[in-house]
């Protein structure tokens, strides 16, 4: 163990002192944070300010017309100075200003008086711009006009807006499992997150072990080392060393991500609450569904409670120990396979031939996540959570749903441990022979023979 420990510490220190490691430690959380922060920031950010000149050719009288329904927003200014002028003239007036759009309500625009069923020309306006006005602008105009038209239609048909609101409510389907109403999205997300962590970790650090083995082989230092320690000690030392590097890296990532994300997300959430209150008051949002604002609020509180309930209902007592278990054994099993692959190769590029069969089960596990999450106790899910090469990822997707029997879980764990021992043994034997083979094209048959050489 003493010598294995020396190998572990060298492996660990070499990787940790590596520039790539240090850069990745700090860069990844920043990128992660950017992923969380940038889109909401961009969404909340007012775009370039734009002036919209309204031209109304519909001939609908002012009291019923649509020219004056718009109100200025943070980045949109409505210009009502040319409402009844000729379109050509107005366009000519602003032909050099790229920040100006002309909203043209054409002669055939009928608004609430339109009786056609769908997408009628009587309900189309044109926004003429020299530069793309952006999705938000178009959306806002559509929302406001639609709302006005709906109001007019209700008025014409003598419908009470309250009745309309009442009629447009949705029916809720509550997902109650064992007495708790839960939210399957939260469960799916939890399972997927845990599965993905294992998947990413195995791929990233498994490949790193493979590289490290190939490096020792190509630099020819390996024979010097195995004259001092057993090849199996060297292999395990490397695997454990790189594992610790991975755990260090992940810990730093989680810590830094939390440090960066928490305050910023908090700030954004505050800002968003302000915004909802604002839009709630000014009553601009919510197109098709007039009373949606109110309804949404109810839904939000409901789903928050549901989410909390769901999070509480996830069997964390099973999930966390299972995660650690599957993480450790799944990773070690794959790591030894990657080490064996590295030992059979002469150069980095040689590894691809042999690494594909090892990565395919992992990819299958992730690719079938849709099927597993859709039917967490279905046949596919059950089988994949038993097969040791996929179980570390798939079982963790299933556990949050709470449908895994204890016996099933133990059987899967047992299979994994047995396979871990078996694969590590095989890998050790391949490794032992492979590291001393130079300049030979290795076939699968050859690999098979290595398993039976006497130590």
């Amino acid at each position: 163990m003493g010598k294995t420990w020396i190998i572990i510490s060298r492996e660990y220190l070499t990787h940790v002192k590596n520039k790539t490691f240090i850069v990745m430690c700090f860069l990844a959380p920043v990128l992660w944070a950017a992923l969380f922060i940038v889109p909401p920031l961009l969404a909340g950010q007012p775009g370039a300010s734009r002036e919209i000149v309204v031209v109304d050719a519909s001939g609908i009288p002012d009291s019923l017309g649509y020219a004056y329904v718009f109100k200025d927003t943070a980045n949109l200014k409505f210009n009502y100075n040319h409402v009844y002028e000729e379109l050509d003239k107005v366009e000519a007036l602003y032909k050099d200003s790229s920040g100006v759009s002309v909203l043209y309500i054409p002669e055939n625009f009928m608004g609430g008086g339109d009786t056609a069923q769908l997408h009628s020309q009587g309900l189309a306006v044109i926004l003429k711009s020299r530069k793309e006005p952006g999705f938000n602008t178009l959306n806002l105009l559509q929302t406001i006009l639609t709302k006005e038209v709906q109001k007019d239609i209700m008025q014409v048909n003598k419908i009470d807006p309250g009745v309309m609101e009442h009629a447009l409510r949705k029916v809720a389907v509550l997902n109650e499992i064992k007495g708790t109403v839960g939210n399957s999205t939260v469960k799916a997300f939890t399972g997927l997150a845990f599965g993905m962590i294992i998947y990413m970790y195995i791929l990233m650090f498994g490949v790193r072990i493979m590289r490290s083995v190939v490096e020792e082989k190509t630099t020819r230092i390996v024979e010097v080392i195995v004259s001092s320690v057993k090849p199996f000690q060297l292999m395990m030392g490397k695997i454990i060393g790189v594992t610790l590097v991975g755990i260090t890296q992940f810990s730093i990532w989680i810590l830094l991500s939390l440090l960066i994300i928490t305050p910023v997300v908090g700030a954004i959430q505050d800002k968003q609450t302000d915004l909802t209150q604002l839009t709630g008051n000014s009553n601009t949002g919510m197109p098709v569904n007039p009373g949606a604002g109110k309804l949404m609020n109810i839904e939000i509180t409901d789903s928050t409670v549901q989410t909390m309930d769901t999070i509480m209902s996830i069997p964390w007592g099973n999930l966390i120990p299972a995660f650690l278990f599957y993480f450790i054994f799944g990773y070690l099993m794959y790591a030894s396979l990657f080490a064996a692959i590295g030992s059979a190769a002469d150069t980095d590029s040689d590894t691809s031939q042999f690494s594909l069969p090892v990565t395919i089960p992992l990819i299958i596990a992730i690719a079938s996540s849709g099927a597993v999450l859709n039917d967490p106790d279905g046949t596919i899910a059950k089988w994949l959570s038993m097969i040791p090469l996929t179980s570390p990822v798939v079982m963790l997707m299933r556990i949050p749903y709470g449908g895994v029997y204890v016996l099933e879980l133990f059987l899967s764990m047992f299979i994994l441990v047995v396979s871990f021992i078996f694969f590590t043994w095989i890998a050790g034997r391949i490794y032992r022979t492979g590291i001393l083979m130079y300049g030979k094209k290795i076939s699968w048959k050859e690999l098979g023979k290595w398993m039976f050489y006497r130590g």
């Binding site: 010097v224 080392i225 004259s227 320690v229 130590g455």
Partner: protein, 321 residues
């Protein structure tokens, strides 16, 4: 002189071929033992078995009459033919790492490395990365790493490859010094000149079998083909006429001023004295020496068959002895 290491009836098979077939060697303590053989003969396999990198299918290895086990790792130093260092690791750090794997403490390793660096005048290399060193410099580091833990048995596989003549000489001197300090050295090399120069004993492996072993002196005598070089002053015709039927002239060379140098092989039961008695009346003999085969000759003879070499020896026209 006791036997430090004894490999007995070692057989090792790989799928499809036998790498070693009943090979036995005895390595005497405080000596340099040459392990010779053509490429692919099985030398590296034998060395790996002695280093416990791989195990024999049959046979056993004894270290001071005890079956080889893990505790012997500390007592053996191994410089493989295929050797290298971590390219991105600093020289000093790397040497300490490898020494620790051989059981030295960090402190002790550092002290000894500093000592060796001083001896080889490489004090400034400590913080250098291996990739910044020339091949010869890397070989020096490698040699130091091999001997650092003061092993009782040193196994050097082609130790001179990658060295220029000056550094090769430094390494040769170190090997002799280590031997004089009590170390036992197994030297595997194709450089027959250094075998003659350094080795006390040799074993020659060809096609998985040991074909020859023993002290270098005995082997050379054993391979002597009763050939002599003789220098004389006088008439060449007179010499050949006087040379009696018990000998044949293999080669002749005129040195000028009536001096001649000839190579003669004795035939049948003839002795050197018979030859001298016959030619003394005809010419004035200045020198008379036996021609012993070089290790190179013996190597080729043992590998290709004895006759082929006797032939080769007899017709050589240049005098190396």
């Amino acid at each position: 002189m006791g036997i430090l290491l004894s490999a007995q009836h070692i057989t090792k098979r790989f799928s499809g071929h036998v790498a070693l077939d009943d090979v036995s060697i005895d390595v005497p303590e405080s000596s340099i033992f040459g392990l010779l053989g053509p490429n692919g003969a099985g030398k590296t396999t034998l060395i790996r078995i002695i280093n416990q990198i791989t195990g024999p299918d049959e046979g056993k290895v004894l270290f001071e009459d005890r079956l080889l086990d893990n505790s012997h790792v500390q007592q053996i130093g191994y410089l493989p033919e295929e050797r290298g260092l971590y390219r991105k690791m600093e020289v000093g750090e790397q040497a300490i790492y490898l020494a620790r794997l051989k059981g030295l403490s960090k402190k002790e390793a550092r002290r000894r490395i500093e000592e060796w660096f001083e001896r080889f005048e490489m004090q400034g290399w400590w913080k250098k990365k291996v990739e910044e060193l020339s091949k010869g410099m890397q070989q020096k580091v490698q040699f130091i790493v091999t001997v650092l833990h003061e092993p009782r048995l040193l196994i050097l596989d082609e130790p001179f490859s990658g060295f220029d003549p000056i550094n090769a000489q430094i390494i040769k001197d170190e090997i002799v010094r280590l031997k004089n300090n009590g170390s036992t050295i197994i030297l595997s090399t194709h450089n027959m000149g250094s075998v003659e120069e350094l080795c006390d004993h040799i074993a020659l492996i060809n096609r998985s079998k040991k074909v020859l072993d023993g002290p270098v002196k005995d082997i050379r005598r054993q391979y002597a083909s009763r050939t002599y070089d003789l220098s004389f002053k006088g008439n060449m015709m007179g010499f050949t006429n006087a040379m009696w039927t018990g000998a044949e002239l293999v080669d002749k060379h005129e040195e000028g001023d009536g001096f001649h140098k000839v190579r003669v092989r004795l035939l049948g039961n003839a002795t050197p004295n018979n030859l001298l008695t016959a030619v003394l009346p005809a010419v004035e003999v200045h020198a008379f020496t036996e021609v012993l085969p070089t290790m190179n000759d013996i190597f080729i003879a043992a590998v290709q068959g004895r006759e082929a070499t006797a032939e080769r020896l007899g017709t050589r026209s240049n005098y190396t002895e």
